[in-house]
Amino acid sequence: MAQRAVNMLEVQNLSKKFDSFMALDDINFQAQKGEIITLLGPNGAGKSTLMRCICGYLHSNCGKVIVDGDELHDNLIPVLQKLGYMPENTPLYPEMKVLEYMQFIAGIYKMSSSEQNRQFEIAISKLNLQPVLTQKIGTLSKGYRRRVGIASAILHQPQLLVLDEPTEGLDPNQKIALRQFLKEYAQNALVIISTHLLEEAEALATRVLIINKGKLIRDTTVKELKQHAPKGDLAQLFFDLTNGAAKNVE
């Protein structure tokens, strides 16, 4: 009998409240390796909260996050081993040099020195970190900080990579290089990114989850979105969806 493939990520009835504010309201979706999911939504829609819940930083009020068959909070440490996360604004230690920070991350994941060297080489070349390796993180530009954050998130080759607004602050060349890298990475992993930029979703996503006011209002693809967009104008569709005019575009 053929075995049913385990979803890389399952989010079941996830809700999160901050006092009386409903940040996430009954979110449900599943995802597999090989997908690049873009969480799309206006500022304050709940994208970062959803990512924080998926990564175990925030505990949901109800619902479950299941990563590769394991419930997140019941198996926190094993699940976190499979997960790479870069939070919004890329918080890093400014007093550390880039290489020292990467060594710190390698230590966290108990990587052997040969594995460490191999992964350093990949991360440094793919994210073009060579020029800043010996520079203190506090002196880096926003774009380089992002890249260091992404490098540290992928260093242990996680099967689930969660990046909160990864292209924010990158110049167009860096954006294109990063998109290419994420497409390559997603061949053997599930990548979830958040953005409020339509072009980002268009360029990268195999699947788009549109979130507004804590609710998942669309689980679709860019192609389908374009079909529904008035005159192919995705921006207009996004505006209509996130301003409660969804029924007009159905």
Partner: protein, 238 residues
């Protein structure tokens, strides 16, 4: 054995400029208290009593400056989001941060070596008392460090963490807890006076003795504070 968080925290203490202010403050305060307050030159000092007598009060000022950043800075800068999503057990994180701050605080005792050498050369040192006093002081540093880390895990502003760490440490060292509990509790055993007062416990070490109740006092307090710290961080995770 030494994990990444321990090494990183220790590294960050010695990379920041504030550690030099901490060192200078410790040396100045220790010199003032030992030579002016404790009258080291004219008092019999085979056991370095002029130095050890007021060290707990000095460390109550110094240790919160080391521990204030342990958790508070992570919360303020947002790196706590990285930290809590690393596959590391909460107990491991708690002990690593405590361990790094404890080592940084204890290393300040290196600055007492010139005084130890002077005492060894010019006086006949009472090694039993001196070693016991150092051990008592290390116990004191461990409690102040654990209290500082606990406060730092509650507040996201390092300055508030310093202030409350300093106040709690000073209160613990100077307040007469034994008499307080005897006055508050009916039928409180008389030995409360001796087993709850920090000054009485510390005096045991200064006298060159180590007894079970003194060790139990430090260990139980240390475990209680570390447990509270673990509980706060684990609550954030679960």
């Amino acid at each position: 054995m030494w994990n990444s968080i321990f090494k990183r925290d220790l590294y960050s203490f010695f990379c920041s400029n504030s550690i030099y202010f901490v060192m200078i403050a410790y040396i100045l305060l220790s010199m003032i208290v030992t030579f002016l307050g404790g009258l080291y030159i004219i008092t019999p000092n085979q056991n370095m009593i002029s130095f050890f007598a007021f060290q707990p009060q000095i460390f109550a000022i110094i240790i919160p400056a080391i521990t204030m950043r342990s958790w508070a800075e992570e919360q303020r800068s947002g790196t706590i989001e990285n930290l809590l999503t690393f596959p590391i057990a909460t107990l491991n994180m708690t002990l690593s941060k405590f361990g790094a701050a404890f080592i940084a605080g204890s290393l300040l005792l290196v600055f007492s070596l010139p005084l130890l050498v002077t005492t060894t050369i010019y006086l006949q040192p009472d090694w039993g008392s001196i070693i016991c006093s150092y051990l008592g002081l290390l116990g004191t540093i461990s409690i102040l460090t654990a209290a500082g880390c606990l406060v730092s895990s509650i507040f996201s502003t390092p300055a508030i963490a310093y202030l409350l760490g300093f106040l709690s440490g000073t209160l613990w060292i100077n307040f007469n807890w034994g008499s307080f509990f005897i006055a508050k509790l009916n039928n409180a055993p008389f030995y409360f006076e001796r087993i709850l007062n920090f000054s009485d416990i510390y005096q045991i070490f200064l006298n060159g003795q180590i007894n079970i109740s003194a060790i139990f006092y430090f260990l139980s307090l240390l475990l209680l504070l570390l447990f509270a710290n673990w509980l706060i961080i684990d609550y954030r995770r679960k």
